[in-house]
């Protein structure tokens, strides 16, 4: 076996380890996926913050949806904060103004800063944060609140799926979000949920304030705040039955920009917390999230390097072969051998593939989803490559100093 084969097997072992880790957690806890319904009288008061920037296309439908959620209106305060939009988001939002819904306009300062501003205005003990292009199931907020059954629970994330699934990119992301949801739920059981995503996250206000609120310098404040809460020993839960649908990029260009922001923000967060590596006092961040992130970056770099090397060297050899054959007047097709003998790398690769299929099947079954074969094939064969490519290019941009917000 050569060094490339050893590295390949090392990558597969690591991937299988993390996949099996999640599968064990899932199967051990699959009976506790959902929580019971809380009576209206026991529901706590919640302030819902809706930061919006240039959201004229979605803000009206988002607010209509929010006003229709199954939560006692007397216990709900909604604050829409227009973050200096250049369009008429503010004017549209104002149409929904009521006793329970405030609309505020401020100068543009970024999402994290807007959220911190909103927290200061929030009257209630719990603060729900939602994106202006997200849509809640009727009982989503109620089910999130059911997860605050322990004083140590500082944040609850929802079950996020893709709202529009007509286009190819949206279909691919739809599959991805189903898998992420199942795996995130599994992570809850060992308190290593590493993100409270923007579409809907609920926080206990006093804990959020105690750890300093959202990091205004970070590009992905929803990841950073989760790491910080975990580091301080708080718990983060996932309300598996709190379905939230969000609008995600419907083309490669927008997808690429969104992922680039996530990667750059992820690296910002990683370096901010890298000192906690294997530090027991940092709880799940030091014990798992930081080491796992590092391993993820290394695997992406190694895997892509090996893959590129193999593809490029084979392409180069093939070109040299064609040139050599043509130089002596031979037909280049004569020496091409299409046969393949199964070896250990193939067998182990197939076993890893089967484990991954088990994760896919589990995610699909939970969501009652019947995949289209073509989309599934693209998701398995192309999507991970694009994601890894994006990771590497974005990481390169990060190390060159790029920190732009990269959105609308």
């Amino acid at each position: 076996m050569n060094i490339l084969q050893v590295i390949y097997i090392g990558i597969l072992i690591t991937l299988s380890y993390f996949t099996i880790f999640h599968l064990i957690l899932w199967f051990e806890n699959r009976g506790n996926l959902k929580r019971g319904r809380i009576k209206d009288g026991d529901l706590p008061r919640v302030t819902v913050l809706v930061p919006a920037y240039n959201e004229r296309e979605n803000i009206a439908s988002t607010l209509e949806n929010l006003l229709a959620v199954d939560y006692p209106k007397s216990k709900l305060e909604i604050i829409v904060i227009d973050d200096g939009s250049k369009d008429n988001t503010f004017e549209i939002a104002q149409r929904f103004k009521s006793k329970h819904l405030k609309v505020i306009r401020k100068r543009n300062s970024g999402k994290a800063s807007t959220l911190n501003y909103g927290i200061r205005l929030a009257k209630h003990d719990f603060v729900a944060v939602m994106d202006a292009d997200s849509f809640l199931d009727k009982n989503a907020l109620r089910q999130c609140m059911a997860c605050f059954d322990d004083e140590k629970v500082a944040a609850v994330t929802s079950h996020i799926l893709v709202k529009r699934t007509k286009g190819l990119w949206e279909k691919l992301q739809d599959i991805e979000y189903m898998i992420v949801a199942a795996m995130r739920k599994a992570e809850e059981y060992v308190n290593i949920i590493a993100v409270t995503p923007g579409p809907l996250g609920v926080y206990r206000k006093k804990d959020l304030v105690k750890v300093g609120g959202f990091d205004e310098k970070n590009l992905i404040e929803d990841v950073e705040i989760a790491w910080r809460l975990l580091k301080h020993g708080y718990k983060i839960r996932m309300a598996f039955d709190a379905m939230v649908y969000s609008i995600y990029p419907d083309n490669l260009k927008m997808w690429w920009r969104q992922r680039k922001r996530w990667v750059i923000g992820g690296l910002q967060t990683f370096f901010k917390y890298s000192h906690t590596m294997f530090d027991r006092k940092s709880h799940g961040v030091g014990n798992f999230i930081v080491p796992a992130s590092l391993i993820g970056y290394i695997l992406a770099l190694l895997g892509t390097s090996i893959f590129s090397y193999i593809i490029l060297s084979r392409l180069m050899n093939f070109l040299l072969y064609v040139i050599a054959a043509l130089a002596v007047g031979a037909n280049p097709l004569l020496g091409i051998d299409f046969s393949y003998n199964v070896d250990l790398l193939f067998v182990y690769g197939m076993m890893m593939f089967l484990i991954s299929l088990a994760v896919l099947r589990l995610s699909f079954r939970v969501h009652g989803y019947r995949p289209n074969f073509f989309i599934l094939l693209l998701f398995i064969a192309v999507y991970p490559l694009l994601s890894t490519l994006n990771l590497l290019i974005s990481a390169y941009n990060f190390f060159r100093g790029e920190r732009g917000w990269l959105t609308k």
């Binding site: 097997i9 002596v328 031979a330 004569l334 020496g335 182990y348």
Partner: protein
């Protein structure tokens, strides 16, 4: 959490072991398949060789039978040879496969000598083409040249059929007889082609050049 980490590690290890066990099973299966192919070729080769010895003692009335046996062997090794080579290259867990590789080279060498002997004794007019290449080359260009040369020779064999005895021999298998051939024909570069024990080509040789020498 520690328990989950340990369980995941254990399952990952089990899957790795299962992968290795399946790998070993496939390698062993392939090894026995190589051995089976070589045993069968061995019998054919011995049969052809002993017919040659028989001819030496009892005259040339068996020339055609001996030729038939030799051709039979060549046809068999021609069709199975590349498959055997591929199987040998794929095996990871069975170092004894290298021994089979040497045995394969010995059979090829024996077949060549037998063909030369038979051609002289019975005045046959087929051509023998010995193709020497290395299994472990550290030069990419040599590997590419070998691949092209192999394709050219297989194409020639297709066209010439029984007028051409194609004998691929692996040059770096540490066999005295193979080293003797390399020494005798002064071969230092690979791939190399020896046509009718007279014409030696080192490096890539074109189909046209070989065509001019072959009697087909």
């Amino acid at each position: 959490m520690k328990r989950i980490f340990a369980q995941a590690a254990l399952f990952s290890l089990l899957i790795l072991l299962l992968g290795i066990m399946i790998g070993i099973w496939i390698d062993n299966y392939r090894l026995s398949s190589i051995r089976e192919s070589l045993s069968s070729a061995d019998v054919n080769s011995d049969d052809a060789r002993l017919l040659g010895v028989y001819l030496q003692r009892f005259g040339e009335s068996y020339c055609n039978v001996a030729l038939e046996k030799n051709l039979e062997y060549n046809d068999k090794i021609y069709s199975e040879g590349r498959d055997i080579e591929r199987k040998i290259e794929s095996n990871v867990f069975t170092p004894e496969v290298q021994q089979e590789w040497r045995r394969y080279s010995l059979l090829q060498t024996q077949f060549w000598l037998n063909s030369v002997d038979l051609k002289e004794r019975c005045s046959f007019n087929y051509s023998t083409v010995v193709y020497l290449s290395r299994q472990n080359s550290d030069s990419t260009l040599e590997e590419i040249d070998s691949k092209v040369q192999s394709g050219i020779l297989l194409d020639l064999k297709e066209r010439c059929g029984r007028q051409m005895m194609l004998i691929p021999i692996t040059a770096d298998v540490n066999l005295t007889v193979v080293d003797a051939i390399k020494g005798q024909f002064n071969i230092t570069q690979y791939p190399a082609v020896i046509v009718d024990e007279s014409f030696v080509f080192e490096g890539l040789v074109s189909e046209d050049t070989l065509n001019e020498l072959l009697k087909c």
